[in-house]
Symmetry: C2
Subunit: 352 residues, 2 copies
DNA sequence: TTGAAAGCGGTACCAG
DNA sequence: CTGGTACCGCTTTCAA
């Protein structure tokens, strides 16, 4: 810890020319072994590899991509539900695509009915290795999806599960938060923000994105039971505005259950809930997911008490970095790719 | 929102060759106007610029950097206090430097006594434009520092304020959290986690990093007063282990103040506090800053209730991206550079 | 099985 | 004031 102690990193960076000279072969041969292309004698390969090790060679990806005129082509497969968060995610992809195209990366977004996993599977099956390098998909974990993912990977397409994991599918990566931990966090906040240590909690969900919602509920129950056992967590109510307005459902539920003191919505589309709460006098602790203009306003007004969120920009960048490095079979920095569980309170809302 | 609606981005990317042809000039001339080098007639400049606009030319930075053999040289100036967080930050810089060197970026870390701003100013003054492109500095806001920053910028060195802002200095950017909002968040959690709505709160600080600590305290007071006015926030106690062990100070304070129900430490070095708390029976709500191995353990054990943190990896990457794009005078994505206020509870601790 | 040489998109030096 | 050209690090024909 002495003052001024400095730490520098050398930047000598041997090139393939150095390798060629060192190994006594031509550039072309060096390139062949570097990219393990066929047609090089074992001895020659060994000579080059020795040079690589001795000189500590690291390929300059930028130069390689330039020479190769490489373009990465990725597809995002999102549900076509009218959910603010998903729309915002697509918006994010679109707005990043400008920058991305300067980084030799092409992105395309496809929207599919989330519930119809046959449709999704079909869409995945239509992805040709010749035209796409990787796909990031938001999908339920059904056999149809699993098999389509497996086939895509066999074709050599990199597959990333987005938002909701597909652990039983052979996907290359999952990009999204740990939803069980998110549920635990929601519970901790719910319990802490409640003035009383008893009462019951309403849990709301949307039918879509099933697995992540389930995981959230599991984590929620776990902590409520461990730390706030005086409170009762009611069975999950599924809200589908298309069938029945949220306000109706909620009004009914609250009438029958007079001791409800909190609401946890595992969903990210809460317009109906917000409308209902704004008309209701009683003070409930309300926790929901995802920071969107709507939910942010609700938080600001005090209708919501906390929001569990994940950064859309980070998710998109992370998915792309992971697809890119997987395609190129180069390592990536895992710490940069962990999507954090963000907690928003009125007090730490981003200044917009 | 139709199914399958696709959004693609073209990747035609005109090159300087296209520009040259289109404008009827040579590559060299195109290069001159692109880099506004002298010695080109106004008409010619106009012709090239017209071509740029008509073709929608965007420079390929990777190719340019290759040709130019560009290397970015940045310096991080950190306090040489023995604080876990700062050490971790230096560690982060070091571990990123491997990747960075493959991105034509060289980083060097210097450690300076935080309290001695003349020393810091001297260190900044010693940075030569010939050998460094940018510096990220953690420093108190004193006239000496301000002037040194101004001189560095006049020499053409990009300056980024790290962790604690230097708003009155002509720094190019600030990389770190909004510390007032962080304090507000701490207060909200403090009030919510407290079982009673009265009692008094101890606020601890380390003498260093003054401005950010001050801002945290301000934000804290604001929300405590607004939302938890039944609680009393006591004057800040400065802890300097070198002078007097934290345990002594705390034991003394708590003896005189029997109604203390919570502790907010604006500092990130809390070994003494943790030691003290582990030996103490009473249940206090304790909130501190920065996720480190020590603080994480304290959170895990229930000694701490919440941690307000900022991501070190993000901070370093962000500082570097900002310095790079400022040096090159190219735009950057502000949303990617906003350092979030992270809230860690036992429930959302990263699985390590 | 190997090497020579052109070229990717730019930059920079030298000549005119 | 402008153009020609070698070169950055790597890839990719084509020919030997």
């Amino acid at each position: 810890m002495e003052t001024g102690k400095a730490k520098t990193v050398e930047l000598v960076k041997p090139t393939i020319n150095d390798l060629a000279r060192h190994a006594g072969v031509s550039l072309a041969t060096v390139d062949r072994v570097l990219n393990n292309r066929p047609g090089v004698r074992g001895v020659t390969v060994a000579r080059v590899q020795k040079a690589v090790n001795e000189l500590g060679y690291i390929r300059d990806t930028a130069a390689a991509n330039l020479a190769r005129q490489r373009v990465y082509r990725f597809v995002f497969l999102l549900p076509n539900v009218s959910e603010e968060f998903v729309d915002a995610l697509q918006q994010e992809i679109t707005s990043q695509s400008a920058t991305l195209s300067n980084e030799r990366t092409q992105v395309e977004t496809l929207r599919m009915p989330y519930a119809d996993s046959t449709e999704i599977a079909k869409a995945i099956d239509q992805l040709q290795r010749e035209t796409v390098d990787g796909v990031a998909v938001v999908a339920p974990e059904t056999p149809a999806v699993r098999d389509a993912v497996a086939r895509a990977r066999e074709r050599g397409i990199v597959v990333v599960a987005l938002l909701t994991d597909l652990p039983s599918s052979p996907r290359d990566h999952f990009v999204g938060i740990d939803n069980r931990a998110a549920g635990r966090t929601a519970a901790k906040l719910m319990g802490s923000f409640s003035v009383s240590d008893r009462g019951s909690i309403l849990v709301l969900t949307s039918s879509r994105l099933a697995r992540d919602h389930l995981e959230r509920r599991l984590g929620f129950d776990q902590v409520m039971q461990q730390q706030f056992s005086g409170m009762e967590v009611l069975p999950t109510i599924e809200i589908d505005e298309a069938k029945l307005p949220a306000e109706r459902i909620l009004a009914g539920a609250l009438k029958n259950l007079p001791d409800v003191c909190g609401i946890y919505s595992t969903s990210s589309s809460n317009k109906g809930l917000i409308d209902f709460l704004q008309k209701t006098a009683g003070k409930l602790v309300v926790i929901a997911h995802e920071l969107t203009p709507t939910s942010q306003a609700a938080l600001q007004q005090g209708v919501f008490d906390a929001l569990i969120s994940q950064d859309k920009g980070h998710i998109v960048r992370s998915a792309i970095r992971l697809m890119r490095s997987t395609v190129d079979a180069v390592p990536y920095n895992i710490t940069q790719e962990r999507i954090r569980i963000e907690i928003f309170l009125k007090e730490n809302l981003p200044v917009s």
